[in-house]
Each structure stands twice: as C-alpha cells, then as structure tokens.
Symmetry: C2
Subunit: 169 residues, 2 copies
Amino acid sequence: MDRRTPALKSGEALLFLTDEQLRQGIEAMFFAYRGFTADPDRILADLAYGRAHHRAIHFINRAPGTTVNNLLNLLGVTKQSLNRVLRTLVADGLVQSTVGRQDKRERHLNLTQAGHELEQTLSDAQRARMRAAYREAGPEAVAGFRTVLEAMMDNEMRASYARLKDIGP
Amino acid sequence: MDRRTPALKSGEALLFLTDEQLRQGIEAMFFAYRGFTADPDRILADLAYGRAHHRAIHFINRAPGTTVNNLLNLLGVTKQSLNRVLRTLVADGLVQSTVGRQDKRERHLNLTQAGHELEQTLSDAQRARMRAAYREAGPEAVAGFRTVLEAMMDNEMRASYARLKDIGP
DNA sequence: ACTTTATGTCAGTGTTGTTGACACTCCAAG
DNA sequence: CTTGGAGTGTCAACAACACTGACATAAAGT
C-alpha cells in the first residue's frame, strides 16, 4: 500500500509526506521535548518543585499581575490543580497574591524577589540549551522551526502564544 | 543591560539571539507540545489508558521484538514504571511478551492484532496534525524544524532517534 | 561456584492531573 | 433592596504515573 499523500501549498512545489517522514517528526518532537525540559527539571528536583511550578513561575513572570483564571487558561489545567502549585509558591514566598482592587474576586499574581531569582535560574538553564540548538541549526532552520511549531498548536494556544509575543520583553 | 549574544556558525552570518527570541522559542515548544499530544490523549482518555501506554505502544510498533530493557532506555523511565504499563497492555491483549530464544532472561515485546489496531488509530490522529502543520509550513520550514529539534536533544536521545530512523518504514 | 544481568514484583512516596463541594464576590432582575 | 446566578478561588479526596528501595527468580558469563 502506498501511503504517500500529496499536498499543494500556494507557491510551493507539491509536498509528498510519507507516514515514515511524519513518524520521524513525531519521534523528533518526543525526544527533543525531553531535552527541552531536562535542565530545569534537574534544578527543580533539588527544590522539591516540579514542572508545574516552573510553568506557573514562567507565565507569572511573563504577565505580571495576571489573575488565576488567566493563568488557568494559559496553562490548560484545572483551577484546583493550579491552586495547589500556587499555594506552595505563595507559602514559600516566591509568589505574591493580592486581592483585586476593582473586582475583589480576582487575585493578582506577581513574583517576589526570590521568585524572580528562581525564574532567572530556570530560564537561564533552558535558554542555554535553546541558544546552543539555535546556533547549531542556523537562522533559516530556526525560522522553519518556529513556523512548524506555530502550525502545530491548537487555535486557542496559538492565540495565547501570539498575545504573549506581543507583550514584548 | 544588553542581553544579546553573538554566535558564529561556519558559513553563516553572525547570529544575535536575544533572550526575547529564545523565550518565544521556549513558549512555542510548550504550546506546540500540548497540541502534539492533544489528539491521542483524547482517544486514550476513553480507554482508561494514558500517555505512557501510547509511548509504549508506539515504540513496540517501531521496534518489534524489542526487549524490556531496550524499551526502558528509549522511554527514559524506570522498569517499575514501565512494568505497570506493560502489565496492563499484556493483560488487555494488546502486547505479547515472549521469552527470548537465545537469552531466556529477555522478554521480546510485540503488538497483537488488537495492539496494531490501537496503534494505527493513535498514529493516525497524531500524524493528521503533523501532516497539516507540515503542509502549512512548507518543506524548507520542515527541514529547519527537524534540524533544530535534533540539536535540542541530549546525546543519548539523539543516538536513539538516529537508530530508529535507520530502521526505516 | 560465584557474579552479573535481565526481568518482575511489592511497598512506599511525590507530583500533577482530575471531580466534587463550598465560600465569597459581583451584578443584574425582580 | 433582596435574591439568584455567574465568576472566582479554596479545600478535600482520588487517580495516573513517575520515583526509590528492596527483594526474588532465572539465566548467562567467568
């Protein structure tokens, strides 16, 4: 059985994507994601924190003052799941949770000084690997990498991604 | 503070990688991986299986007759963790475990007919998304995507990845 | 015979996801 | 103004899946 599939992209040559090519892409994603998380995971293991804490810290740093609900949608977990993580981060003095001024139902989340320091440590580790990979691959490859990843996201996530991108550094 | 870092790649122009660019890459990986696993996860949820079962089935399909130890290294988990998953898959008649002929300590793992059917269902879902992303991004982007992912892996994983790639379809 | 290797199992623990139940706040309809 | 619904956050219990440690068995290697 011939399992090739033709695809026409405007202005592009015909694309033949065999199951084999796609499978290799799938396995590349799997192995690369392991590497992607390996360095922060090592740091977090010593601190009795996990990947969930890292993600929370990352996005609170990205969108300071964000609400719990906002963070929930970004991370794609239930509020109960996020709450456990936030509770420990607040208890450990890494995150500050302040009641909303207009709407007192909301809690606005910010990193404390200690929180910023951990964020920096984790980001540095993750960026180091990303930087090495980017340099090794070269600029054209990086552009393609980003293009494919964006195309792979769900619409909601792509929207979140774009929104964060626009916030700027 | 200027946090740009110059990098020279042979034959390439100087690469300036800001923390902002790297951060975007990190977030792209995060959101894309969510999309990457979303479709199989939905299917598995109805079957009382999880991502761990999917990974086991995927690699048993890729390397039929592989041993437990082999699979362990590929997946990067402990034998206790894998064993729990394999036990249910064998009990449910999706995986067959046969004692090795030369080395009777080893167990060779193969998918049963039912196992192949589930593998096909899961792969089809995951490939559909990958195929759509590949088509949308175009061939040059795909090449870059693969290059960056390979550069992001740990050495061990890159070796596993290459070994699987050589097995062919 | 002794050691190492491959595998399986039991028990215990931690992180991270889930649902269910509940409290507090806001807002709008009566 | 009160009341009810919607939004937001918290607590409790449970499930999935990873981990370590300890131990048993069988077979291969020395």
